[in-house]
Structures are given as structure tokens and as C-alpha cells.
């Protein structure tokens, strides 16, 4: 099975409709990350939303996780996780901050911190970037609601 096919399967596992946000406009990147963290933490009670958000934002201070395709993949590796978790936001209006590329889709991606998961973590990051090309992002933006987007993500 190719890396991409594996990732599509993972996407299906990772994204439930409850973890797909659709919004016209968001005040900022930080707020959007926090909203996505909340969405994930609802399904993972062992996770503390404030702590998770702080870890993701800390990573964001480093090398940018936004690609010029319009996809942002804020991520963090957490001791509390034993499997991958994710939430996605599709924005009708691009989110653009100072010194930042405009974001159309934000994919919050959380991985277990154990080193054995690191290769898969990288594999998913790469496959996400490959999957979320501009045409695909445009298609997602045009969809009506989170259920449709979730269905499209696993198709």
C-alpha cells in the first residue's frame, strides 16, 4: 500500500464530522488553533485543551507550518496520546496574519510523542501536503457543511 493510500485511510480514521469546522471568517490563527484543539479534546478526555494549545502554539513559533498551497498543519507530539488525532477547519475567507501566508484549510494534527510513531508522523505530514493541493482545497471550500467535507476527505 502506498504512503498516500495509507494516509487516506488514516484521514478517515482521524476525521469525524464533529471535528470538521467550517467558518466564514476567524479573528486569527491562534483562535482557530484553539478552536480545533477544543474539537479534538472533546473526543480525548485525557487531553487538557490549554496544555495542548500551548504545545501547538509553541511549535508554531518555530519553522512555519503553513504551505503556499493554502494549507496550514499546526501540530504537536504529546505524551498523553497513544494514537494520532486531528481536526480540520475549512475557511470560506482566507486567514492571513502579518508575515504569514494566507490559510484556506487548517489541519490540526496531534501525534503520540513516542519515537516509534515519528516516522508515521512524518509520513502523514507529507501525505497531507500532497493531498491538500490548491484544487482540492478549492473543492473543500465549495462544499456545504462539515459532514460533506468529512465525507470528501475519506473518499
Amino acid at each position: 500500500m502506498s504512503q498516500n493510500e495509507q494516509t487516506k485511510m488514516s484521514l478517515g480514521r482521524l476525521i469525524a464530522p464533529s471535528r470538521v469546522l467550517v467558518a466564514d471568517k476567524y479573528p486569527g490563527k491562534k483562535e482557530l488553533i484553539e478552536a480545533l484543539v477544543q474539537a479534538v479534546c472533546r473526543d480525548y478526555p485525557q487531553l487538557d485543551p490549554a496544555y495542548v494549545a500551548s504545545q501547538v502554539l509553541k511549535r508554531e513559533e518555530g519553522i512555519s507550518t503553513t504551505l503556499d498551497t493554502g494549507l496550514a498543519i499546526p501540530h504537536a507530539r504529546l505524551e498523553e496520546l497513544t494514537d494520532f488525532a486531528a481536526a480540520v477547519a475549512v475557511l470560506r475567507q482566507p486567514l492571513a496574519g502579518e508575515n504569514e501566508l494566507p490559510i484556506r484549510v487548517m489541519f490540526l494534527f496531534l501525534s503520540p510523542a513516542k519515537p516509534t510513531f515519528f516516522q508515521q508522523h512524518l509520513q502523514i505530514l507529507s501525505a497531507l501536503a500532497e493531498t491538500f493541493k490548491p484544487e482540492f482545497i478549492e473543492e473543500l471550500v465549495s462544499l456545504q457543511d462539515s459532514r460533506e467535507i468529512a465525507a470528501r476527505l475519506v473518499r
Partner: protein, 675 residues
């Protein structure tokens, strides 16, 4: 200018692609390197014997042979010096080991000998040529003889002027040409040796005497010191000192070391062995045969300036064949000696450049020729001094020979002392070669062999001070003058010197802007490719790891530097932290030289280094992408960003797996793209 590549998003990330080239990324096999050295070092065969004969009589071949055996020790010294990889030859080694003052003194002395090597070689070539013409005129019964001194001066000046022009133009003699000259010389040597043995078999021969008969001028001031003449060993050292001019050109090995191909250390040893063997047979062997075959009175009166021609004309056989043999010797001699003239210009120019780079000389010396990009002021100066020396010598090779050897001996004394000092100062540095005879004590190797060599060199150099009056007066005078010029210039230049010293050495790199990445990699022809991304000249651990493990026969190594251009992705602090590309690539070339492996340096102007790396790797069809760790972000965020970018750029299946590696001090993070 076209944009180089487009991302799948249709956005251009690579703004400009520049392919960098430098002569220093062309590496040569050991035998070519040996040929370059031998074109200079081997050329002393044409004059050393004659000069030694005039100095201390018919025992000269023993001493020339002894000097050639001694050259083996000096080659081993050069091996250890080169293994330290202190760029800049003896001058830099001495500076590293003994400090600035000693380095300036050593450089001043060495420049004196470089300046003399040109005239002595050029004038000798003139003598050989004139000798051939005169032999022909005599054989043809013209009853005419050309004046050797006039012809040799005229020819010497012509050769010097020719190479002065070539050096100003920056046209370097190819190592292939040197190899051809040496191959021809070897054939001539072989023929001459066979014929000499036939002559000995027909006419019989005696071994040369060992008694020394010093001429008054060869005794120099020692003629007034009674005790020196009563000790036999002192006489032997004096004779040895008069023969060390046969070492002329041996220092060229440190100049060509940079160019020797991988595996560098092994090839350097092979080159040294080849140089030693050839010099022993060619200079030592032919000088010996000359002394055996040519009657001593003829050497003293007719052939002292063109000994090997004398050997040819003294062989058994018909005159026309002997003349043909002489012609072959002259062709070989003129080619080698002219090569030595060129090497003397190149060597002294390179040495003066190293000194100027350290801020010791004012900018006037480093002025670059507008058209040819050479340091023409230095070349003009050296050539002018050489021309004056040729004129002043009036074609007298003995006088030039007597003046020679001051610099080379004292420079070797400084160099060996510096290497001894570095055994302590750089005890931890790995050496591919160590001069033999060492005693291990804790973390140090006490260099017994080097100390003995230093003692031997110092003894000969000190004895030469008393016997070689011309060398002592001219050498001390010139060295003192040049040292004063360096010191004064350094003082006048003090402020500028500090800046230049901080700037350090910059490699001369030719930059050619190409249309796209594909064009940049068009010349790569090996089946495998590794792309190494560089950023910081101080952080090239990953490049070193690649170069020390790569199979250069089937793998091209591309070194990519992404220079940031203004964009939202690069904050102002990152743009201002970008390093000058010349500094980066100077460090890269230095590393490539260290391993003797060619690399393809490419500079791209991009607003996102990760995109540029991914695009370049994709276009180059690289199987491996290697990056150094970022001290600011760490390896994990780097590899995360790299795999994300790779995914965004990739729009078709891979032809083969690609491994992305981030390397730092013994550690590695990697990811393998399999599709």
C-alpha cells in the same frame, strides 16, 4: 530572467539559479600531480650536477645522489604538513605553528628562492639550447659558435616574458601537459641510461672519486676558518650544502596537494613515492652516469652548464645519433625548465597572495586585473625582478646556483620546526601521515624523526651561511628587505588588515546565471545523485559526512545554497542573517579539496529554502537530500517542514525512493519517501 521552477501551486519559489564553478573543483590523479611537481623538481637534473662539480669537484654525483635520497625525508615532511590541511603551504603552516613573525621570515626567504628558480631554470634552458645549436654547427662544419651567455640570457628573458604574460592572463598550464613532458623525459632518461650502460660496457668506467676539492669561492668564509677545514664531516656537509639546489621545486608538492583527487591521503603518498623514485633515477641517476662517462676536464670546461648534453655527446656511437640524443635531451630540458619558470611565477604569486590575504600587504598588491581577474601587480613585480636577475647573472648559471638554496633551506627549517610545534599544539588533530620515528607519551607523539631532520636541516643551513657567500649576502639582504616591507606594510595597513583578517580567505568563484534548475544539473552524468543543502560555513558536518562516505565514481554531489530573497516567509532578521555566498562556497570548496572529491555548487535565490531544496532535489533526480541541523529550530521541526514541502511540491510518483537526512554530530534524523 526566467523563473526557475514552478510549484504545484503555480507559485515560483526559486527566483534565480546560479551555477558556480572554480578551478579548484577539478581534481587530478596522483600521477598527474607528481608530473606537475617533477616538471619543477626534476628540472634541477639539468644544472645541479654542473654547479656542484664547479663547487667541490668530481665527487659531485655522490652528493647529488645523497640530496635526492634526502628529498625522500622532505617529501615525508610535506606529507605530514599536507595532512594537517592548513591551506596555504609552508607559509600558513609556519604561521600556525610558530606565529606571524616566523611566517613572514619563512615567506620572505622562500620568495627569494622562487625568484631565483625562474632565472636559473630559464638561463639553463638557454644554455642547453645554445649547446645544441653549437653542436650542430660544429658537426656541420660551419666553424661558428654562438655565445652561450648571450643566447642563454636572451632565451631566459623570452621564456620569462612568455610566462609573465600567461600568468597575467591567468592561463594555467595543464597537468596533462606536465604528464606528457614527464612521460617524454622518462623515455629520454631510459634511452640515455641504456646507451650509457652500453658505453660503459664498451669503454669501461670508474666510480667517481669521493675526495672533495673545494674551489676558493665554494669555501666562502669557511676558507678563513681553519677548524672547519680539518674536520671531514664539515667538508661533507659543505659539499651537501652546495648540492641542495637539486631540491629546487620540491615545495611544489604543497601547491598541488589541493588538486589531488580522492582518496587524497593515499594518492598523496603515491605521488610522493613517484616523485621520489623519478627524482632519484632522473636527477641522481643521470648525474651519476654523467660523472662516470664524461671526462672530468670536459665537465669543468665545456659541459658545466649543460651536463646532460655533455653526457649525450660523450656516449659511444656515431655523431649524428649523439646529436639526435642531445636534441631529445634539449627538448625535454627546455620543456621542464620552462615549466619550472612558470611554477616559480605561480608559486611566488600564490605565496604573496596568501600574505596579502592576511592583511600584511596593502590593497595595491591584491589589485585584480580588470579583464583577466589575476593579481597582476604581484606578477609584474616578480617577473620584473626575475628579468633583472637574469640580466645581472649575464648567463652565469653557477652564480645563480650559488645564490640559490638559502630560502629553501631556511624555509624547511621553519616548516619542520612549525610541524614539531604543531605536534603539541594540535595534538588531537587526526593526521593521515606522520613523519616516522615517534615516541608515544600520553596523548602526544614525540617527533624524534622530525627533531633529527630539523637538526640536519639547521646544520646544513648554518654551514651554507659560511660557504655560500652569494646566497648568504643576497638571501639575507633580500629576506631582510622583504620582511621589512611586510612589517611596514602591515603596520601602515593595520586597520584594514584587521578587517581583512576577519573576512578571511575567499575562493575565486565564477558565477553563471542559468535559466532553470534543469540547466544547472545538465552536466551531471553519474547514475546517482546526492543533494546537500548548506547554509552556514561553520556548520558543514553533514557535507563532510557525505564526502567521507560517498562513492565518487558513481555519485554526483550537488551542494545547494539557498539565498533568501525578500518575502513574507523570511522575516527581516533571517534575511540579514544570510551569509555571503562566497564565504559559504569557500568553505564548501575547502571541504571538497580536503577529500579530493568534486562537488557541483549551485546557488539559488529563493523565498523559501525548503521549497528550493525540494525542487532542486526533484529536478536533479537526487536519491538523497542531506541537511545540517539548525541550531535555532532543531532537527525535528526541520524534517517536518521538509517532508511537508516535499509533499506540496511533488506532483508525480517518484522513480526511486528518496531519503531525506538531517545530520549533526554523530546523530541523524531521516525519512524515506518510497513513492
Amino acid at each position: 530572467m526566467k523563473n526557475a521552477s514552478e510549484t504545484s501551486a503555480g507559485l515560483s519559489r526559486v527566483k534565480k539559479v546560479v551555477v558556480l564553478t572554480t578551478a579548484m573543483l577539478t581534481f587530478i590523479p596522483f600521477w598527474k600531480a607528481a608530473a606537475v611537481v617533477l616538471c619543477d623538481f626534476g628540472s634541477s637534473a639539468f644544472y645541479a650536477g654542473g654547479i656542484a662539480m664547479r663547487a667541490f669537484g668530481p665527487a659531485f654525483p655522490w652528493y647529488i645522489l645523497a640530496v635526492m635520497l634526502f628529498s625522500g625525508l622532505l617529501l615525508m615532511l610535506e606529507l605530514e604538513a599536507c595532512s594537517l590541511f592548513v591551506r596555504g603551504g609552508a607559509y600558513k603552516i609556519v604561521r600556525e605553528g610558530l606565529g606571524d613573525t616566523a611566517a613572514k621570515l619563512a615567506a620572505s626567504a622562500l620568495i627569494f628562492d622562487f625568484i631565483l628558480t625562474g632565472p636559473i631554470s630559464a638561463v639553463t634552458a638557454g644554455h642547453y639550447l645554445c649547446g645544441l645549436i653549437n653542436s650542430f654547427l660544429e658537426l656541420a662544419g660551419f666553424g661558428l659558435e654562438l655565445p652561450e651567455s648571450v643566447v642563454s640570457v636572451a632565451f631566459g628573458m623570452l621564456v620569462t616574458l612568455y610566462f609573465w604574460r600567461q600568468n597575467v592572463k591567468g592561463i594555467e598550464e595543464s597537468s596533462s601537459k606536465s604528464a606528457k613532458i614527464i612521460a617524454f623525459s622518462l623515455a629520454v632518461c631510459f634511452l640515455l641510461a641504456i646507451w650509457s650502460f652500453i658505453t660503459i660496457a664498451l669503454h669501461g668506467a670508474h666510480l667517481p672519486p669521493t675526495e672533495l676539492h673545494f674551489s676558493r669561492e665554494a669555501l666562502g668564509w669557511a676558507g678563513h676558518i681553519d677548524w672547519m677545514q680539518t674536520i671531514g664531516l664539515v667538508g661533507m656537509i659543505m659539499a651537501f650544502g652546495h648540492s641542495v639546489l637539486a631540491l629546487s621545486g620540491i615545495e611544489t608538492l604543497s601547491q598541488v596537494y589541493r588538486e589531488i583527487e580522492y582518496p587524497k591521503a593515499i594518492n598523496l603518498k603515491k605521488a610522493a613515492w613517484l616523485i621520489f623514485g623519478f627524482a632519484l633515477l632522473f636527477t641522481g641517476g643521470l648525474t651519476f652516469l654523467s660523472a662516470v662517462i664524461i671526462p672530468p676536464d670536459l665537465i669543468a670546461t665545456k659541459y658545466y652548464d649543460n651536463l646532460l648534453s655533455g653526457l649525450a655527446m660523450s656516449l659511444a656511437g656515431p655523431n649524428f645519433l649523439k646529436l639526435l640524443m642531445q636534441a631529445m635531451i634539449v627538448v625535454c630540458g627546455v620543456a621542464m625548465l620552462s615549466g619550472a619558470v612558470n611554477t616559480s611565477l605561480i608559486g611566488s604569486n600564490a605565496l604573496m597572495n596568501r600574505i596579502a590575504e592576511d592583511g600584511i600587504l596593502t590593497d595595491w598588491f591584491r589589485k585584480i586585473h580588470r579583464r583577466y581577474g589575476t593579481t597582476y601587480h604581484i606578477i609584474h613585480l616578480i617577473a620584473a625582478v626575475q628579468l633583472v636577475v637574469i640580466l645581472l647573472s649575464r648567463g652565469n648559471v653557477y652564480l645563480l646556483g650559488e645564490a640559490y638554496a638559502f630560502g629553501v633551506m631556511w624555509c624547511f627549517v621553519f616548516e619542520v620546526s612549525a610541524i614539531i610545534r604543531l605536534r603539541w599544539k594540535k595534538a588531537a588533530q587526526k593526521r593521515d601521515f606522520m613523519f616516522p620515528l615517534n615516541i608515544k607519551y600520553e596523548n602526544y607523539y614525540i617527533p624524534v624523526g622530525l627533531i633529527l631532520l630539523c637538526g640536519a636541516l639547521l646544520t646544513v643551513a648554518l654551514v651554507n651561511l659560511t660557504t655560500k657567500q652569494v646566497a648568504t649576502v643576497a638571501g639575507l639582504g633580500f629576506t631582510a628587505f622583504l620582511f621589512a616591507v611586510f612589517s611596514l606594510s602591515e603596520r601602515l595597513n593595520a586597520k584594514r588588515a584587521n578587517t581583512m583578517f576577519e573576512e578571511g580567505y575567499r575562493e575565486r568563484i565564477n558565477a553563471e546565471t542559468v535559466d532553470d534548475l534543469k540547466e544547472a544539473f545538465a552536466d551531471l552524468d553519474r547514475p546517482h545523485r546526492i543533494l546537500v543543502a548548506v547554509k552556514d560555513p561553520e556548520n558543514l558536518y553533514h557535507l563532510e559526512e557525505v564526502l567521507s562516505n560517498v562513492n565518487a565514481d558513481d555519485t554526483d554531489v550537488i551542494v545547494l545554497y539557498c539565498k533568501p530573497v525578500e518575502n513574507v516567509l523570511y522575516r527581516q532578521d533571517m534575511r540579514s542573517a544570510a551569509v555571503d555566498e562566497q564565504e559559504v562556497f569557500t568553505a564548501v570548496i575547502f571541504m571538497a579539496e580536503k577529500y579530493g572529491l568534486p562537488v557541483t555548487p549551485v546557488l539559488v535565490h529563493s523565498n523559501d529554502a525548503y521549497y528550493a531544496i525540494a525542487q532542486a532535489a526533484s529536478v536533479a533526480d537526487a536519491e538523497e537530500v542531506v541537511m545540517g541541523v539548525s541550531g535555532r529550530y532543531g532537527a525535528n521541526p526541520q524534517i517536518e517542514r521538509a517532508v511537508m514541502t516535499w509533499g506540496a511540491v511533488k506532483d508525480q510518483d517518484l522513480k526511486h525512493p528518496v531519503t531525506l537526512r538531517i545530520l549533526w554530530e554523530g546523530r541523524e534524523v531521516s525519512y524515506r519517501f518510497t513513492r
